[in-house]
């Protein structure tokens, strides 16, 4: 038992503290740049484009009159057609969501 303690103590002592000596700086210099700045730029571009497109659509479509026209047309559609449209939209959204989830889980595994 004593011998085991002696061996453990010697093993621990055989691993002295290693001074940093610039190691941390070298590691930090090799880190990739933060993605935050790129993400911010991407968000600004996407939001700006979406805002411009909305303004352009509003101006070109005579103050958004096409929305009320489309809504009137939708209201005039038979109930069966409205159901089919809603179902198709739901399926498309579910497929897009599933695809995004699968690609995300694959990315986290690698």
């Amino acid at each position: 038992m004593n011998q085991e303690h002696w061996l453990d103590r010697e093993l621990r002592d055989a691993a002295p503290y290693i001074d940093d000596e610039g190691f941390t700086v070298r590691v930090l210099q090799q880190l990739p740049p933060p993605r935050r700045r790129q993400d911010l730029l991407r968000a600004v571009i996407l939001l700006g484009t979406a805002f411009l497109a909305s303004v352009l659509t509003y101006v070109v479509s005579d103050g958004g009159r096409f929305i009320s026209v489309t809504l009137e047309r939708l209201a005039a559609l038979p109930a069966l057609w409205v159901f089919v449209l809603a179902l198709a939209s739901g399926l498309v959204m579910a497929a897009a969501g599933a695809t995004a989830a699968i690609s995300r889980s694959r990315a986290s595994l690698t």
Partner: protein
């Protein structure tokens, strides 16, 4: 109050705070570099290259750290994988194998005394026993943590520690208490 490893990891995750990651490197560089120096049989340059590689890999994959184990255990696992991959690559390139490495010149051979004999005895152990001894007896990991780092069953770790310790005791019998 000093931040815990978990706090620093959270800062890296949320803010991509590289200063927080730098603090993690500062805290764990000694133990990771020490482990790799022992695994590479005191090849300091190679060990430091592997340690850098391990920390970079840890930064890139920090989202995969779920906090189930200690951060140091997770780091040891990455470091050990870096070592294994490098050893495999070098073996493929130049045909270095364990037996050859065991007979290579030990830079500590000029140092007299118990420390030298202990290092020499450690270097003579097979890799599986040496790794288990280094993690459990030198770095203070539990058998369970060592099993996670080495990705082997718990029973195998216990056996390797036991066998390695017995061999060390035999090789260092002259230094033990009478």
């Amino acid at each position: 109050m000093e931040l815990t490893d978990a706090d620093l990891v959270a800062r890296v995750l949320v803010d991509e705070d590289q200063h927080a990651f730098g603090e993690l490197v500062r805290r764990h560089q000694s133990s990771v570099r020490g482990l790799l120096r022992q695994l590479t049989r005191t090849d300091v340059a190679l060990a430091d290259d592997l340690a850098q590689q391990a920390f970079l890999r840890a930064y890139k994959n920090i989202r995969n750290f779920r906090g189930e184990a200690r951060f140091s255990t997770w780091l040891y696992r990455i470091a050990y994988n870096c070592f294994r991959e490098d050893a495999r690559r070098r073996k493929e390139l130049v045909g270095i194998d364990e037996e050859q490495l065991q007979t290579q010149h030990d830079p500590q051979a000029a140092d007299p005394g118990l420390r030298h004999d202990l290092m020499r005895a450690l270097n003579l152990l097979p890799l599986n026993e040496r790794s288990a001894i280094l993690l459990c007896c030198q770095n203070g990991l539990s058998h369970d943590e060592a099993a996670r780092v080495l990705d082997i069953p718990l029973g195998t770790v216990k056996t390797n520690v036991l066998r390695g310790r017995e061999k060390l005791k035999r090789m260092l019998a002259d230094w033990g208490p009478n």
